[in-house]
């Protein structure tokens, strides 16, 4: 039994067999084995070679039937390649002389072979490197157990163990069969964490080297609430976690009953709780969870999930579906926010940037690629007639950027007018506040934007100069850092002075620990993952605005985030479950 501590990314408990994905082209960690194990390693190798050969044979037969001899020939070659006596000889040599594990030794030999292929001038042979990869994957899968599997074609429930999950992988997941995630890298607000929370799948990230600590098929417990992973647990441990699992489910069920209760403080102040969504289907789920609308509709997914830029019609249909699902509730659509951390294959390879987070991304990218941006805006505007659509520009640092974006939108409106296409002319135009510059200039922006929405994740990242996805500095990332809180306070105040609605979207909005503070700072509208709404609503209903204001006033005097955290925890604990409005 091994227990590992990581960062809790998505709450809940999952227990099941591990599915280890090695996304990094099958680089198996260097592993030497005890001399007594060498014979076992060689047996594993032989069994894997035999099984792979059999598999390829079956593929060949099927291919001959379906595709003809030419395609089948490829498999015939694979078959011979696996049966190559020199291949086995070389691997066995490495196992015996260097005490490598079968997987590592095999990987090493295949690596040499790949290099050989690449070194050949003949383009036809060079191409064969792909066959080598394919063969290598097949055999390694047999050596390691059920390792590499396509996540879109899972047949039984598994706990996914991976170095990292890219957004495009995450969206292609077969949700029904994924019990939980245990991931090497990442922080609490990495994309992976956001998506697993959205899907309601327990997840622990920043586990270091979990992919090599766990082998396929091993039983794994993922405690996404505590941030703990247990491999090969004993029966008592399993029983203990099953109890926790039931407790979590009871809690979820309890919170669900809050759905139809209003989000009003005990002293009668109504708070608007909205949902963050990525796909139209989630809009319905958000309404189901008690959301009063969509506070952040991320539009990137359509661009990330395709190798081609989505057409205006595709975009329009998608946005309209989300707006219709919201059934008249407000839907704030954020324009394309693609950066180096989530690059769309559709947009082609971006030139290398030394500092992608500070580079050509998001609105900056859009303003430079006006055709793409205008098509996007047309689709949003056309979808606006289906409900209460509001538009929001991300990643703004200067007033000129907001003005340029608004001017582009005006151009597009003019085009639509000329073409006689319907759209809502009065749709509110707002912006994200996620750069310290935008927060400091909040009074200026509040005069020019219909609403401001604080993106607390990026605002924290840019204020503290911490990459939240880098687990070596992720501990420095805290949204309750006094510097961040002062910026939030400033933006909320500017909104009040200039009559500009201010909301907050980002992880902070969904964390009950922060709810009272955010209310005290002057925020009345919070947007979060729908699964967080009940817990936040519970806090709203148990507190008073007077208490929240007092809390905020006290917290704003602190200089260290540790003090802030302690005070917030005390205030959260002090909420009396019996005192509900």
């Amino acid at each position: 039994m091994i227990t590992k501590k990581g960062i809790n990314a998505s709450p809940g408990v999952a227990i099941g067999p591990a599915l280890v994905l090695d996304t990094e082209e099958y680089r198996i960690p260097l592993r030497t084995v005890d001399p007594s194990q060498l014979a076992t390693q060689i047996r594993n190798l032989d069994a894997a070679l035999q099984a792979s050969r059999q598999e390829v044979q079956e593929l060949r037969v099927a291919a001959t039937r379906k595709l003809g001899d030419d395609t089948a020939g490829i498999f015939a070659f694979h078959e011979q390649f696996i049966a190559d006596p020199r291949l086995r000889e070389q691997v066995v040599e490495l196992i015996q002389q260097r005490r490598y594990s079968a997987a590592y030794a095999f990987g090493q030999v295949m690596n040499q072979r790949q290099k050989l292929f690449r070194s050949v001038a003949d383009p036809y042979l060079k191409e064969r490197v792909r066959d080598i990869f394919d063969i290598e994957k097949r055999v390694l899968r047999h050596i390691l157990g059920r390792t590499r599997e396509d996540m879109t074609r899972l047949t039984e429930p598994v706990v996914v163990v991976a170095a990292d999950i890219t957004p495009s992988q995450a969206i292609s997941l077969d949700r029904r069969h994924i019990l939980g995630f245990a991931i090497n890298v990442g922080g609490p607000t990495s994309h992976m964490a956001i998506i697993s929370k959205l899907l309601g799948i327990p997840a622990v990230v920043a586990l270091g080297d979990i992919t090599s600590d766990v082998s396929g098929g091993e039983t794994l417990i993922v405690d996404g609430t505590a941030g703990i992973v247990v491999a090969s647990p004993d029966p008592e441990t399993i029983a203990r976690y099953q109890e926790r699992q039931r407790e979590h489910e009871r809690q979820v069920a309890r919170l669900r009953t809050l759905r139809d209760q209003p989000a009003v403080t005990r002293d009668g102040v109504a708070i608007e709780l909205l949902a963050n969504i990525e796909v139209p289907e989630e809009a319905a789920a958000a309404v189901e969870a008690g959301a009063q609308g969509v506070g952040l509709y991320r539009t990137e997914l359509l661009f990330l999930s395709s190798t081609r830029v989505p057409t205006e019609e595709q975009q329009y249909e998608t946005y309209r579906a989300a707006v219709e699902a919201a059934a008249g509730r407000p839907v704030i659509i954020r324009t394309l926010d693609l950066g180096a951390d989530k690059l769309a294959p559709a947009l082609g390879a971006a030139p290398h940037e030394h500092n992608p987070v500070l580079g050509l991304r998001s609105l900056r990218y859009c303003l430079l690629h006006l055709d793409l941006f205008k098509t996007h805006l047309r689709a949003i505007l056309r979808a606006s007639v289906a409900g209460d659509v509001r538009i929001m520009f991300p990643m703004i640092a200067t007033v000129m950027e907001l003005r340029q974006a608004k001017a582009t939108l005006a151009d597009v409106m003019e085009d639509l007018d000329e073409e006689g296409l319907a759209f809502r002319r009065d749709l509110p135009i707002g912006m994200m506040v996620e750069t310290p510059a935008a927060a400091l200039l909040a009074p200026a922006f509040a005069r020019e934007a219909a609403f401001l929405s604080i993106g607390s994740n990026d605002l924290t990242q840019y204020t503290l100069a911490v990459d939240r996805g880098n687990e070596r500095v992720a501990h420095l990332f805290s949204a309750h850092n006094p510097a961040v809180l002062r910026l939030l306070h400033r933006v909320a105040r500017a909104g009040r002075v200039y009559g500009c609605e201010v909301s907050l979207c980002g992880e902070m909005a969904g964390a009950p620990l922060y709810t009272q503070l955010l209310l005290g700072l002057g925020l009345r509208r919070l947007s979060m993952a729908s699964c967080d709404i009940p817990a936040v609503k519970q806090v709203v209903r148990r507190t008073t605005l007077a208490a929240c204001r007092a809390l905020a006033a006290r917290v704003l005097k602190f200089d260290a985030d540790r003090q802030v955290l302690n005070t917030l925890r005390d205030a959260h604990r002090a909420l009396d479950p019996e005192d509900e409005s």
Binding site: G73, I74, A76, F77, Q80, F81, D84, P85, R86, L87, R113, L116, F117, V120, D122, Y124, L125, R128
Partner: protein, 89 residues
């Protein structure tokens, strides 16, 4: 007793996938071991990977060296396979 014969690769593709598959298949039917030489490179005649790495293109001269009880028959079989253009010409 080692048996050596030289032969020229006649087919357009040279020693590519399919020819090599036939070559290796043939070599495996005999007991004798076989080594194939092309310029300064050499390959185990039963290893498709090594045979590919010979990069023997059309017109290349290769030397087939077999050693073992049925070396003579093996070399004959391989040489006639090569000379027939691997049955693909």
């Amino acid at each position: 007793m080692a048996v050596t014969r030289e032969v020229v690769i006649p087919n357009k593709e040279g020693l590519h996938f399919r020819p090599i598959m036939k070559f290796v298949d043939t070599a495996q039917r005999y007991q004798a071991g076989v080594t194939v030489h092309c310029e300064d490179r050499q390959a185990d005649g039963r290893s498709p990977m090594e045979m590919l790495m010979l990069v023997a293109t059309q017109g290349a001269k290769v030397k087939v060296v077999a050693d073992g009880v049925d070396a003579e028959e093996l070399v004959n079989a391989l040489v006639s396979l090569v000379e027939s253009g691997f049955g693909e010409m």
